[in-house]
């Protein structure tokens, strides 16, 4: 254990407690919450333009939500005891309550909404496929193949109701992640009532950007045309929400700088040294100001479709990187300074250990693997059907659109 220390740390503080895996956790939950809120735009707020991404957003949310607890699980000193969180949850612990918020969101909101929305497809597939796939679909129908108009109408209304509940649930899910950090009074870098709100908005930003990118990539992979009207609308929402998110973060910063409490000098020094690259350069300049400017340009200037697509792709990538940097700066930054405000320690990321970089990369790839399986199982494309032969000039959406309730 040879960790470089500058100044004075309480001796037990030298070793960092939360590693890159805990950076991933709010990042991944943020993607979930953001993707769901994008999906609910279409359903609750009737933004017809974003319809092509509705089902994709739901499946994206599910695949990331399934991975969200894994970094936590891998980080625990005793992963085998994690069920205690549900068996004897401590009511005063934000972390324990998060377990229930997670379960509620997974079981009562996301799975239910996806099931109701895809039930017609599931029933049809259980009758048209064979062997193992048939068994899977049969199990998913729960033994009821009623797809009468009335039953689908009931599903539609129930689905709407669940989405309405789902929006505050998604806020709760990610607000709670913010609260886990924001409620630690011992740590002035975290302790802030704005933390949950900043987390919610940054979650929406990252989730919307991620679904936008996924939509662009998957559409291209399937050899279809991107619905530019849909993309414009998503980018517009991304721009607005990003503006709110950035304002909130700046408000938090301004408040800290102006109040300049006992921790200020220590934290200010940290931002100007150890966090300069990850916070000021990557998070703020590259990951926030640049994409906001790019998206703003698309709102003001009359650009060609091709140019807009390129800008959206670039802005989306930068946004996701920026939000990841924000999670990094919150989690890692909050542990680099001493609670005595007299010194700083260093985070040395391991590579091939349980909490190393390799694990983190694997955990970031895993949701995409899950998503590719889910997409096979429950195709979310509004223009589903056989892919046209390569080179064929394709008129859009001419093949058997799936019936939607």
């Amino acid at each position: 254990m040879n960790i470089p220390v500058e100044g004075f740390m309480y001796p037990n503080e030298v070793e960092l407690q939360w590693s890159i895996l805990i950076v991933l956790y709010p990042f991944i939950t943020g993607l979930v919450a953001g993707a769901f809120i994008l999906a609910s735009l279409e359903r609750v707020f009737r933004v017809e333009a974003v319809k092509p991404t509705y089902r994709l957003a739901l499946l994206t949310a599910l695949s990331f939500l399934l991975v969200a607890p894994l970094p936590l699980q891998l980080h625990l000193g005793h992963p085998e005891r994690s069920l205690e969180m549900y068996l004897t949850p401590h009511r005063s612990s934000a972390m324990a309550m998060f377990g229930f918020v997670y379960l509620w969101y997974l079981m009562a909101v996301l799975l239910l909404e996806i099931w109701l929305d895809f039930r017609l497809d599931i029933v049809i597939k259980s009758q048209t496929t064979t062997r193992v796939t048939r068994l899977i679909y049969r199990a998913l129908t729960l033994g009821s193949d009623n797809i009468s108009e009335r039953s689908l109408h009931i599903d539609e209304r129930l689905g709407y109701f669940i989405t309405v509940i789902g929006i505050p649930s998604a806020f709760l899910l990610h607000g709670y992640v913010g609260f886990i950090f924001g409620s630690i009074k011992a740590n002035p870098w975290w302790s802030s009532p704005l933390m949950p709100i900043v987390f919610i908005f940054s979650a929406m930003v990252s989730g919307i950007a991620a679904v936008m990118l996924l939509y662009m990539v998957t559409t291209r992979l399937r050899g279809r045309d991107i619905d530019i009207r849909c993309l414009d609308k998503i980018a517009q929402y991304l721009f607005y929400i990003f503006m709110i998110d950035f304002s909130l973060e700046m408000l938090d910063l301004l408040q800290r700088v102006y109040e300049a409490d006992e921790s200020f000098r220590s934290l200010d020094f940290m931002v100007h040294t150890r966090l300069w690259t990850s916070q000021v350069i990557i998070q703020i300049l590259i990951g926030t100001v640049t994409p906001i400017t790019l998206l703003g340009l698309t709102q003001i200037l009359k650009l060609t479709e091709a140019a807009r697509k390129r800008i959206y792709a670039l802005a989306g990538c930068l946004t996701v990187i920026g939000i990841f940097a924000m999670r990094w700066n919150v989690v890692i930054g909050g542990q680099l300074f001493s609670k005595s405000f007299l010194g700083y320690t260093t985070y040395k990321m391991a590579f091939a250990t349980r909490e190393g970089l390799l694990t983190a990369i694997a955990l970031l790839i895993l949701p995409f693997i899950i998503l590719s399986v889910l997409v096979k199982l429950l195709p979310p494309w509004p223009d589903a059907g056989p892919v046209p032969a390569p080179g064929a000039i394709e008129p859009r959406n001419q093949l058997t659109p799936v019936l939607r309730g």
Partner: protein, 243 residues
């Protein structure tokens, strides 16, 4: 080894005392110890501390504390006359081997022993997701190492840096106020070996405990009072620069 009569006379009472401790066993099985009759804390008399490190060594031995981690430690402060807000603090190896001589400039130098403050409104027990750390009915903050997940949330929540993860058990660990000693009528290992009486175990529910006289006649302070943790480790003669 031959046992002379004189030696036996020495052995017998020692054996009797040892047996008494064996019999005393756990507090629940011991009729001598009633949880509700005690409320534990500690008094640290800063002007008496000589920074010898005996407490740190004794704690490590009594509680099997791994190297590089500290249930108690000593800090040496140097406060220049004109820089009360920026003290120079050091704690080489937690002060376990004492401190090398320092003769730096003007200002004042002093030692501050630190340990878990056994807070009544402890932020660490508040955040534990499963109830693996708790305040006992006699006012000691303990960790249930067979129930702890090792999520490290409590380590983050402690404003004083008193907690760490034991690399052998992968669970949270901290000062127990030598709970296995104080429930048998002994004092803590650190107080036992402190040569100057700078550390005093205090039972706040015992009206005969000398702490009450001390508190009446001295102005004491707790660490980081603005954290409102209800700390029960009281510091006498603490400089404003201590954090």
């Amino acid at each position: 080894m031959d046992i002379t009569r004189r030696r036996l006379l020495i052995l017998l009472p020692a054996a009797a005392i040892a047996w008494k401790f064996v019999q005393a066993g756990t507090p629940e099985s011991s009729p001598n110890y009633i949880l509700a009759e005690h409320w534990w804390g500690m008094l640290i008399d800063i002007p008496k501390c000589i920074g010898c490190g005996s407490c740190v060594r004794a704690c490590a031995e009594e509680n099997d504390v791994p190297d590089g981690y500290y249930r108690t430690w000593i800090e040496r402060y140097h406060v220049a006359d004109w820089k009360i807000e920026r003290p120079e603090v050091e704690s080489p190896n937690g002060g376990k081997q004492g401190f090398p001589p320092n003769e730096i400039g003007d200002g004042k130098n002093f030692f501050v022993p630190k340990l878990c403050n056994h807070c009544v409104d402890s932020p660490c027990t508040q955040v534990c997701p499963v109830g693996a750390t708790f305040v006992t009915p006699d006012g000691v903050v303990l960790v249930d190492k067979s129930y702890c997940l090792g999520c490290r949330y409590c380590v983050q929540a402690c404003p004083y840096g008193c907690r760490f993860i034991n690399p052998k058990t992968n669970t949270a660990e901290k000062c127990t106020l030598c709970y296995h000693r104080i429930t048998k009528g002994l004092t803590t290992a650190c107080c036992e070996v402190c040569p100057t009486g700078a550390r005093q175990l205090a039972d706040l529910k015992n009206p005969k405990d000398p702490i009450h006289d001390f508190l009446k006649t001295h102005t004491v302070q707790v660490l980081k009072p603005h954290m409102a943790t209800g700390a029960k480790v009281f510091y006498n003669g603490m400089d404003g620069s201590v954090r």
